[in-house]
Each structure stands twice: as structure tokens, then as C-alpha cells.
């Protein structure tokens, strides 16, 4: 279904929400201490960004997210490819992978804190694990989902070994690998924010938590907006990049979150 809406239409209902919000605040229905009106929130957010405080927390969160993604990427893709190609390896690691996939990675935080101590390494390790598991499973699924017919055709044309992998298997699995990266990043962002809420002094999650605990509605909303913008960028930005890099892949709405 390629029914595209005109791009300006997408903005209409969010704008209406903002205007109604502002009007309700002006009419005194929403108290500014609880729900700050957009006209106050905008300047406050800009001031927080200009003052550098929010930038610092954003950079800390981005640093954690990026580092754990980079650490996980190469091992996860390599392991996922091997598991996809070797049946015995897949069966041998299945129990471990299944349980790791099903456990919310935040639940591993106490165990990691116990072993590594309460520090930055713990946070990075737990995040890396989140990305790693998701990307491994997606990569493996991508290899397993490669069309048998395509594979047979490649073999019949004489592609074997490295050439079969490089020109047939890998490009076919690439869309799934990419989807795994995107979901991995989104899940890791949830994890990083969750860990920052529980056990960190810095980062957007910590800033958000402090704002809530000190009843600063403006800081709370500002932090929430920045975190939301980060989530939106990861989800839609990476989807665009993926479509541009791999024009051969299928686009479906379900693949947005898978």
C-alpha cells in the first residue's frame, strides 16, 4: 500500500494538539506547574540546550548508545552468519540464545553490577549485550530466510564458497541484518534510559528522573522531548537510510518494528 499522504498533512494534528494545549493553559485549565504551556516550554528547552546542560546529558547517552552498538556489531554479525549457515552450531547455542533473547536485558543489570561493580563499564556491557543479542538473532534469521531458489540458482551458475557468500547469501541477508541493527539500537536506547533512571548520575535518563523527583515540570518535559526526538531519529532516520542503501529490499509496515 503506497498511499502517501501529502507531507504537510502529517503536521496538522500535532499542531492542533499544541494549540489546544496552549489555549487550555491560557484559560487556566492546565496549571503551568504541572503542565507547562508550549510557549513557556519552547524557550525553556532552548535555554537548557544553549546553557549546555542538556547537551552534556544527550552526549553522554549518545556515547553509551554508540559505544555499545559498535562493540556489538561485528561479533553479532559474524556469529549470526555462522549460526545461520551451520545447523549444529545453531542447535548447540539455541538454549542460550533463546533465553537471552527472551529475558529483558535490564534484568541482567544486577548480575553485571555484581561482577563488574557499579560503574560505566557495567552500563556499557549491559547495553552491548542488548544490541548483540538482537543483531545476532536478526542476522541468523536473515540467513535462514534466504530464498532456496536464489541459493540454488547461484550454485548452478557456479558460485561456491566465498563467491556464493559474497554475491548471493550476504546481499540477501543484508536487509534483515540492517533491521536487526535498527531494532537493536531502539531496544538499546530503552535499556540505556532505563539504566540511567536506576543507576546513573548523568545522561538523559538521569536528568529525566531528577526532574521528576524535584517536581520541575519544565525540565521533565524538556528531557522527555529530547529523548523522544532521539527515538524518532533512530526509528525513522535509519529506516530512510536503509531504503536508500538497499533499494532491493521489501518495504512493509510490519518491518518497521520487527
Amino acid at each position: 500500500m503506497a498511499r502517501r499522504q501529502a507531507s504537510w498533512r502529517v503536521l496538522v494534528s500535532p499542531l492542533i494538539v499544541v494549540v489546544v494545549w496552549e489555549l487550555l493553559s491560557a484559560a487556566g485549565v492546565l496549571r503551568p506547574n504541572y503542565v507547562p504551556p508550549p510557549s513557556q516550554l519552547g524557550p525553556h528547552l532552548l535555554a537548557l540546550l544553549a546553557g549546555g546542560e542538556l547537551w552534556r546529558h544527550l552526549l553522554v547517552t549518545l556515547y553509551r548508545l554508540g559505544l555499545s552498538f559498535i562493540f556489538a556489531l561485528i561479533p553479532a554479525v559474524l556469529l549470526g552468519l555462522s549460526l545461520g549457515m551451520s545447523r549444529s552450531a545453531r542447535l548447540a547455542l539455541e538454549p542460550l540464545l533463546t533465553s537471552l533473547y527472551a529475558i529483558p536485558k535490564i534484568a541482567l543489570l544486577p548480575l553485571v553490577m555484581l561482577v563488574l561493580g557499579v560503574n560505566e563499564r557495567t552500563l556499557i556491557f549491559t547495553s552491548t549485550l542488548t544490541s548483540f543479542v538482537q543483531m545476532t538473532v536478526s542476522t541468523m534469521g536473515g540467513v535462514l530466510a534466504v530464498d532456496r531458489i536464489v541459493l540454488e540458482a547461484g550454485k548452478n551458475y557456479g558460485a561456491t564458497g566465498w563467491r556464493l557468500f559474497r554475491y548471493v547469501l550476504f546481499p540477501s541477508a543484508l536487509p534483515d541484518i540492517f533491521t536487526g541493527m535498527r531494532i537493536g539500537l531502539s531496544l538499546t536506547l530503552v535499556l540505556v534510559i532505563a539504566v540511567e533512571l536506576t543507576a546513573a548520575q548523568e545522561g538523559l535518563g538521569a536528568f529525566l528522573w531528577t526532574a521528576g523527583q524535584t517536581f520541575s515540570a519544565k525540565n521533565l518535559f524538556s528531557a522527555f522531548i529530547v529523548i523522544g526526538a532521539l527515538g524518532l531519529t533512530l526509528t525513522y532516520g535509519l529506516e530512510r537510510i536503509g531504503n536508500w542503501l538497499m533499494p532491493w529490499r521489501e518495504r512493509s509496515s510490519a518491518a518497521m518494528f520487527l
Binding site: 500500500m1 498511499r3 499522504q5 498533512r9 503536521l11 496538522v12 494534528s13 500535532p14 494538539v17 549444529s88 547455542l93 538454549p95 542460550l96 533463546t98 533465553s99 533473547y101 527472551a102 529475558i103 529483558p104 535490564i106 534484568a107 543489570l109 544486577p110 548480575l111 555484581l114 561482577v115 538473532v137 536478526s138 534469521g141 536473515g142 530466510a145 533491521t179 536487526g180 531502539s186 536506547l189 530503552v190 534510559i193 532505563a194 533512571l197 536506576t198 535518563g205 526532574a211 521528576g212 517536581f215 515540570a217 521533565l220 522527555f224 529523548i227 532521539l230 527515538g231 524518532l232 533512530l234 526509528t235 525513522y236 509496515s253 510490519a254 518491518a255 518497521m256 518494528f257 520487527l258
Partner: protein, 265 residues
């Protein structure tokens, strides 16, 4: 070829079983040999006896029941309005133009970030926990239900409209069955997300529930109990991740392929 099928089946069962048992045995041996610190990695036999001890008392079941209850209630809080909104968005163009941008704007926001905002208004109450765990699943279900209706086949709809199906009959006999497999995809994803958020929120806030139990046993350094908590969370996670898939297989055997999430098999 039954003989080949049995062989495959047995291999699919024996290899994972063997590796798990070997890993557990190696863990046990390495601890006793002093290579793994028992303070960090208590031997599996100790964990098992702790589990049995806790299972005899009622407290552990209370925690597990609390988490399961929260998961179910928050899932229903997401499922009913989410499906209704999504189906409406898929059916009426006006609804889509109004609600779709808002839903698509909100659902990529990291689910756990809603928690401080929700408790800012509701306090650390049970409703705060449930609402937090319901928000992202609700949005996910709405998006997925809308796309389920949009992807219905036009010819099918034209045909049944020509045959005079209208209103509730049209909805219950045609739209719902045709959209069900895709709705299920949304439900599965939503349940998974809901579980992650429930556990995370319990760890941050709850004294009760498996997440709270896990966090508490870490804080007082009862390591065996921590592993028990982790194990139960894992079991519940497996149930959530694979249970709904099995259910869907039974309910809609004709739609097995669509329901397999890409990248899971």
C-alpha cells in the same frame, strides 16, 4: 519419510539439551575447582536448592503472580483501545489523517521514558506502573491494527459489499477474520515490549513483583535469590515470547508463515 523426521526431531532435541547440561555441569565443576567465584556465580545446585526453598514459601509466588497480573492487566489496557483505534484508523480516512501522525510521533519514544512523566502525575501507584507498561504497547497495536485493515484485499471487500454485508456483520464476519493474523503480530510485539517495561519499572520502583524481588535480592546481596529471580523472569519471558506464537499457530494454522517474526527463526 517418517524415519528421517524422527531423526531430525531427535537431533533437534538432543543437541540443545546436551549443550545446556554440559554448560551447567561445567559451571558446577569450575566453581568447585575454584575457577569461578562462588560469590558471583553460585553453583547451579545451590541455586536449585534456593529455588526449592523459596518455592515452598509463598513469597516468591506472590512476586511472580504480581508481575504476571500486571503484565496481563496492562496488556488488556493496551489491547482493547489500541485495536479499536487502529481498526478505526484503517477504516476511516478522516480518523487516519487525525490520529496517525500522533501515534507515529509517539510510538518510537523509548517506552521507559514515559515512566517518570506518568509518576509525576499519578505518583508511585499501581496505576502509574500499569499505565507506563501500557502506553507503548497501545501505540504499537494501533499502528499494526491500522495497517492490518489497510492491507485487506480490495477485491474481497468489494465482493462482500456487493453481497450486502454491512455494519457489524461486515466487521465480525469479514474484516476481523481477514485482519486477525496481522493483528496478532501487533499483539506479540506489544506483549514483548510490555514485559520489558513491566520488569524495568518494577526494578526502578516496585517493592513487589519479580523485578522488585530481583533488585532487592541484589541490594542485600542474596546472590542465589537473585539468580532465582532472573530465572523466573527468563521463564516468563520465554512464555511471553514464544507462547503467543504457539497460540496463534493453533488458532490460525493457515497463517503460520506470516506470524513468524522475521529474524527469529
Amino acid at each position: 519419510m517418517p524415519s528421517r523426521a524422527t531423526r531430525l526431531f531427535s537431533r533437534e532435541l538432543t543437541i540443545p539439551l546436551a549443550t545446556s547440561l554440559i554448560a551447567l555441569a561445567a559451571w558446577e565443576v569450575l566453581v568447585h575447582a575454584g575457577f569461578l567465584r562462588a560469590a558471583f556465580f553460585p553453583p547451579p545446585t545451590n541455586i536449585a536448592s534456593t529455588l526449592l526453598g523459596l518455592a515452598a514459601g509463598g513469597e516468591l509466588w506472590l512476586h511472580a503472580g504480581t508481575t504476571l497480573g500486571r503484565l496481563i492487566v496492562s496488556f488488556l489496557m493496551a489491547l482493547i483501545p489500541g485495536t479499536a483505534l487502529g481498526l478505526a484508523m484503517g477504516w476511516w480516512i478522516g480518523m487516519r489523517l487525525t490520529a496517525d501522525p500522533l501515534v507515529k510521533l509517539l510510538f518510537p519514544i523509548p517506552s521507559i521514558a514515559f515512566f517518570p512523566v506518568v509518576i509525576f502525575y499519578l505518583g508511585l501507584s499501581e496505576w502509574g506502573l500499569l499505565l507506563t507498561a501500557a502506553i507503548t504497547p497501545f501505540l504499537l497495536i494501533a499502528v499494526q491494527s491500522a495497517s492490518a485493515v489497510e492491507s485487506l484485499e480490495r477485491t474481497l471487500l468489494e465482493a462482500v459489499l456487493n453481497y450486502g454485508a454491512r455494519g457489524l456483520r461486515l466487521f465480525l464476519r469479514v474484516i476481523l477474520p481477514a485482519a486477525l493474523p496481522r493483528l496478532f503480530i501487533g499483539y506479540r510485539l506489544a506483549l514483548g515490549v510490555g514485559f520489558i517495561v513491566t520488569v524495568a519499572v518494577e526494578m526502578v520502583a516496585g517493592k513487589h513483583g519479580l523485578g522488585g524481588f530481583l533488585w532487592h535480592s541484589w541490594q542485600i546481596l542474596r546472590i542465589e535469590e537473585m539468580y532465582v529471580g532472573l530465572m523466573l523472569i527468563g521463564l516468563l519471558g520465554i512464555l511471553v515470547t514464544y507462547g503467543l506464537e504457539a497460540l496463534a499457530d493453533r488458532l490460525m494454522p493457515w497463517q503460520v508463515d506470516l506470524l513468524r517474526l522475521k529474524g527469529q527463526r
